[in-house]
Each structure stands twice: as structure tokens, then as C-alpha cells.
């Protein structure tokens, strides 16, 4: 595979059979796939910039104006990232939620939470001490934070407990204990974030009846 083929694929000019073979090659060659992804992102970024105005492509040089615009853009981006990053990291309430360790009790019941796109019903939290298995893709070598949020009308209104430094139990699951008795009726979500990375958290909703 070469740059011409990457160009053809990204531009959508590759034939169907060749496109399928190209995609399978990408799956077998992660570094090549990254190269293709950069190309896809470059095209997407150019489209995004051009969707506002094409002036940036044909502008003459006005260093001060562009510096100010860049600074404003970065400031907005920084504020957005900080806002998303910090929105759930409030005061912990450790008696409600606890880490699962080798000496943890088995729990009265268990609950399995997974992301189901488009699902309109959230699972119900059983009563008692519940062992909650969060199903996703995790890096077993990293720590994760798990925040328990109370929600109303699909919006987070409060973070009532946060556990940091949680290790996944396998590449596909991470477990915590929740004391159902200490939660009032309503909607909740567990927000799982990989620590030390800028990536978005994953939300796993459930309901306490």
C-alpha cells in the first residue's frame, strides 16, 4: 500500500473491492492505519475550517490579527476541555461506593452495566450491597476514576461519590460496590474515565426505584 492508495481511499475514489482489501490491510497494519487516520482528520479539519469561511486559505499575512484569533481559539478550546474535565470531580462520599478488592464482600446482588446505543431504558439497581460490573474496553495497565452522578431529566445535577485509582478486573470489565440503601430514588450514572488522559468519560446509566 502507498500514499496514492491512501489518497484514493480518503477521497472516496477507491473501487469497492479494492476498498475492502485496503480496510483489511489497515486492520493488519496498525501503524499504516494511523497514517490513514491522520489523512482523514486533515481532510475533516480542512472541511471544518472551510465551512466557516475560505478566507484562511487565501488570506494575506496579518500576523497580529491571526495571533489574536489563534489565542482566542485556544482559550475557548482550553475552557471547553477544562469544563468537561472538571464537571464531575466534586466531593466524594466513599460510604456509598467502594472499590472491589480481594477481600470485598460478594454483595447481596449484582448489576451489569454496558453501553447500549439508542437504548431508552436504564437498568434498575437492586437493593442492598450491589456488586456492579461495568462492561467496556479497558487498559488493564491503567487506573480509572469512577464517579457516581445523580441525574435529572438526563442532566447531571450532582456528583455524590468518586473512586480514583481503580484497576479493571479484565480488559472488558471494571467492578465497584454500591450500597443501594444509601441512594434515594431516581436516576444515576457511573462516569468512568481513564486517569491521566484527556479522553472523554463513558457514562453508564441506571435507576434506583
Amino acid at each position: 500500500m502507498n500514499q496514492d492508495q491512501i489518497d484514493q481511499y480518503v477521497a472516496g475514489r477507491m473501487g469497492e473491492a479494492e476498498g475492502l482489501a485496503f480496510e483489511e490491510y489497515c486492520l493488519s497494519n496498525p501503524e499504516f492505519a494511523r497514517q490513514v487516520e491522520y489523512e482523514q482528520r486533515l481532510k475533516a479539519g480542512l472541511a471544518q475550517v472551510a465551512s466557516g469561511s475560505t478566507a484562511e486559505f487565501v488570506r494575506s499575512e496579518h500576523p497580529l490579527r491571526w495571533s489574536l484569533a489563534a489565542a482566542a481559539g485556544l482559550l475557548i478550546a482550553f475552557a471547553a476541555v477544562i469544563s468537561i474535565w472538571t464537571s464531575g470531580l466534586h466531593a466524594p462520599a466513599p460510604t456509598i461506593m467502594a472499590a472491589v478488592t480481594g477481600s470485598s464482600p460478594q454483595g447481596d446482588t449484582s448489576l451489569r452495566l454496558a453501553l447500549v446505543r439508542g437504548s431508552e431504558t436504564a437498568p434498575a439497581l437492586p437493593s442492598g450491597l450491589v456488586r456492579v460490573e461495568i462492561v467496556g474496553l479497558f487498559d488493564a495497565g491503567n487506573f480509572y476514576s469512577v464517579a457516581l452522578d445523580r441525574r435529572e431529566q438526563n442532566q447531571k445535577i450532582d456528583t455524590i461519590a468518586t473512586l480514583n485509582d481503580q484497576r479493571p478486573t479484565s480488559p472488558m470489565s471494571l467492578e465497584v460496590m454500591i450500597d443501594s440503601k444509601q441512594l434515594r430514588l431516581g436516576s444515576y450514572s457511573l462516569r468512568v474515565r481513564k486517569q491521566g488522559s484527556g479522553e472523554e468519560a463513558l457514562d453508564f446509566g441506571f435507576v434506583k426505584f
Partner: protein, 197 residues
Amino acid sequence: MDFIPGGELSRRIRDGDVSAESELIRQFEPGLRVLLRRRTGGDYGLLQDLVQETLLIVIQRLRGEGIDDPQKLAAFAAQTARNLAIASLRKAERQKTDVDSEATDRNADPTQSVDRIASDLEAALAVRALLRELPQARDRLMLKRYYLDDYDKDLICQELDLSEAAFNQALSRARRRFRQILEERGFAKRDLLSLGL
């Protein structure tokens, strides 16, 4: 890192080797992102969901019944991703036909919007930085012609009075710099690590 053939990965996962599952994710995730980015129309949230769903299906299948030809694990994963993308598209089309658009606006998923904006913002910021660094308006216009206007290389060279060698050199430089900008800002890492890799 070394690439582990599909047959070996399949066998190790079937035997309960957890590190093989991590290795499968590391190997396949970049390619799945390429494949699904093309089929999710810029919906960053959907892209992430489908990559994750594909990997879960593949791992669960290998843990259980396995696949007919383990040597073709990459092909199996690619086809799984395509099928999920098609199913997702069909579902979206069905929703389009019978949904109350006002109600949809009222109940818009804010998380998905944030994902989408964040994704666009990152790429756009890196492109803006790249465009600022390009000293000549000709180079900026060349990128637009090539990536957005879909002009043929010869036509661009003719319009901008460039030799083919100069065109290739400028394009290659722009690509390298774009990648560097994303890496410097941590955007690339964030994207590539979005599944916990």
C-alpha cells in the same frame, strides 16, 4: 511492536489469555477507526461506540465459539464493523422517518453533541495552526484544492504554477506538520487512546 497473526491471537484468547485480548485491541483499533470514520459521517460519538462494539463482539466470539478461519481474523473484524455501521445507518434512517423533529431537538443528547464538537474542534484547530504556519498563500490554496475541491494533481500544478515535485514536497511537508501539531497538542494521543489503549 510486533504484529501477532490472527491465528495465534484467536488461539490465545480461546485459551483465556487476557494479554492477547489487549493485544487484539491494540492491533485492530486503529484500522477500525479508519473503516468506521468513513461510515459514520463525522459523528465522533457513534464512531467510538461502533469501534468498541466491534471489539467486544470479536473478543466475545473468540472467547466462545471462535471463527471459521482464525487466519482471517482481521477480515472478520472488518466485516463485523461494516455490518454494525450498516445497522446503525438503517436505524438512523428509520428514526428519521417517524420522529418528531421538534421533540428530537428538545431531547438532544448533549453528550453526543459535545463529542462531535470536540472532534471537529481538534482537527480544525490543528488545521488552523498548520495554515498559519504555511508561508505562502499558494500552499494553503493547494491544500484546499486537493482535499476539498477534489482537483486533480495536474490541474492544481497547472493552476498554481507548480512542478509535480514541488507539489509532492509541499503536500508531504503539510501532512508531516499536521501530524506533528496533533501529537504536540496531545490530540492524536487522545484520539488513539480513546478506547483505553
